[in-house]
């Protein structure tokens, strides 16, 4: 049987031009373990002679290389440089730092990063150097390198040059509208819980606070990775809502209103069977309020709908009205009662 299967037969087989008997023979031939290598060798050769598309391997290699090298740095405190000649860069950075001494090392955060912060009850929009728009919700901070998305050269040394990654670090909640760059530079959002969001030109909201981490995608595509756990990257499609719970489990569900998660941009609050407990968490995170709910039954009551509110008091009034309950506020302490 073996001798009837040769390269020509296999090429015809790949092209779908063999008789059923020949196909059977190929199947038998494949049962021989050694022939499997041969099979893939010929498949490769056949594919090369029948290419369906062209693709630039160099760009793809750079992308994967910078992803791999970049992520291995994420766990260390200063994720400064993600690129191939990492050793050389570090050497340069190290000697410069030594030269400038410990003092400037203390201020390196200020020197190297731009940080945007919002206080309680405040939202703010920023345009990043690459033209991407970010809107920060209350009590959040966003940090990015000063050379973000640009190329800076010192002779042969390049900072952020070959790297095809724009990296921002987010604590809290923000809505992103990422600009797609002609050189396909990726945009990555790092969150404290280790979930990384890689973007390919897109609109999405990232929520990363103590109680959980969520990502909602409105358009385009993003990829989620958890570099600390060995999990395969997860590709999100528009309308997907990804949640990372306290145990570090990543789950994906469809949501009909992905824009609802960014309604705070219009000073609106959107609830969908949202419990008073969750609303209390939100009030704590966004306005720094300490909320007490008299009993569990009350905490489990829910609200649905989208409502405008400009500040904490308006939200409190709204919630009290909708649930027909009372609240009292002294400074930052709020108590809900029946």
């Amino acid at each position: 049987m073996e001798n009837i299967v040769n390269k020509t037969v296999l090429f015809d087989y790949f092209s779908g031009r063999v008789s059923p008997l020949q196909k059977k023979a190929v199947e038998q031939w494949l049962a021989e373990p050694d022939n499997r290598e041969r099979y893939y060798e010929w498949l490769h050769e056949w594919e090369l002679s029948q290419l369906q598309m062209d693709a630039n391997w160099q760009i793809a290699f750079d992308k994967v290389a910078s992803d791999v090298v970049g992520q291995s740095l994420v766990d260390e405190p200063p994720p400064l440089v993600r690129q191939r000649r990492i050793g050389q860069i570090w050497l340069a950075v190290a000697s410069v730092l030594l030269f400038l001494g410990f003092g400037s090392w203390l201020f390196r955060d200020k020197l190297l990063y731009e940080t945007v912060q919002t206080g309680f009850g405040e939202t703010r929009s920023v345009t990043l150097p690459d033209g991407s728009e970010v809107t920060l919700n209350a009590n959040s901070s966003l940090r990015y390198a000063r050379w973000f998305g640009r190329q800076i050269s010192f002779g042969q040394w390049t900072l952020g040059g070959k790297q095809r990654v724009r990296t921002v670090e987010l604590i809290g909640e923000a809505d992103f509208s990422v600009r797609h760059l002609p050189d396909q530079q990726r945009f990555v959002v790092l969150t404290p819980k280790g979930l990384n969001v890689t973007v390919l030109g897109t609109q999405f909201t990232v929520f990363s606070r103590e109680r959980n981490t969520r990502v909602v995608l409105r358009s385009g595509r993003v990829q989620l990775t958890l570099p600390r756990v060995h999990q395969r990257p997860l590709l999100m499609k528009p309308g997907d809502l990804a949640t990372l719970d306290r145990k570090g489990q990543l789950a994906l569900v469809k949501t009909v209103h992905p824009e609802a998660m960014a309604s705070w941009k219009q000073h609106r609050f959107t609830f969908e069977l949202t419990s008073l407990r969750e609303i209390a968490d939100m009030l704590h995170e966004n306005y720094g309020l300490q909320i007490t709910i008299k009993h569990d039954q009350l905490a489990d009551r829910t609200i649905s709908g989208s409502f405008p509110a400009r500040d904490a008091n308006e939200v409190l009034q709204l919630v009290a009205q909708l649930l027909q309950i009372n609240y009292s506020r002294e400074d930052n302490r709020v108590t809900f009662t029946d």
Partner: protein, 216 residues
């Protein structure tokens, strides 16, 4: 099957020590030689060589399943990424070529099946070495038949429908753009797409039970 499992494990030294080609009774051919030499220098050079040799044909092969350029490139990129990130490249049994093709085909097949049948296979689980061990002649033929049937199905679509489908998938164009360019109503374009996908779904409906049998 026992033989298949036993064989690569029998003399792992030969497979795992590509750095000293003299030890190896040259079972490793042509490209593999270059790749292993490059890996001996550094993982970076190794991967650069792998990309140079295999990225293009792998994308092209993945495209036979998914019919979308970006998806094909992403799939292939992820396979490389995983191999690199997990350090699996240190101990690749068989050849790199076999590893890459098997992983890409597995992923491309699952991607399309999930897309057409509306399933969502949890993405975390594919352990390529295990995958290679569980590969049987039937699964290999199954994959080959799948892309061949897809091609046949697309070829047999009415010309306009085929054109719309390829513009939408391969060129990644929006329905409205296609409607404008071909001078069709948006509804017509949508109907063409629905019809094409309906036909493609049939490829999997006939296949699914068989495929599961093979896996278990």
């Amino acid at each position: 099957m026992n033989e298949a499992e036993g064989l690569p494990l029998q003399n792992p030294e030969n497979r795992l020590r590509p750095l000293h080609p003299t030890d190896t009774p040259v079972a490793i051919v042509d490209n593999e030689h270059i790749v292993r030499k490059a890996f001996a220098n550094s993982p970076e050079q190794g991967f650069e060589t792998l990309f140079r040799l295999y990225y293009r044909p792998l994308c092209s092969h993945a495209l036979r399943f998914v019919y979308t350029r970006e998806v094909a490139e992403d799939l292939v990129g992820e396979v490389f990424y995983q191999l690199w990130k997990t350090g699996g490249y240190v101990a690749v049994q068989y050849t790199y070529r076999t590893y890459l093709y098997a992983a890409v085909r597995h992923r491309a097949f699952n991607y399309l099946r999930d897309e057409l049948t509306g399933n969502r296979t949890p993405v975390s689980l594919d352990n390529v070495p295990e995958l290679l061990l569980s590969e049987t002649p039937q699964t290999l033929v199954e994959y080959d038949e799948t892309y061949q049937r897809l091609e046949k199905t697309i070829q047999e679509l009415p010309p306009q429908c085929q054109r719309v489908f390829l513009m939408s998938r391969f060129e990644n164009r929006k329905n409205q753009e296609i409607a404008d360019e071909l001078g069709l109503a948006l509804k017509t374009v949508e109907a063409h797409m629905a019809r094409a996908l309906q036909q493609l779904r049939k490829v999997f409906i006939g296949l699914a039970p068989l495929f599961f049998l093979v896996i278990h």
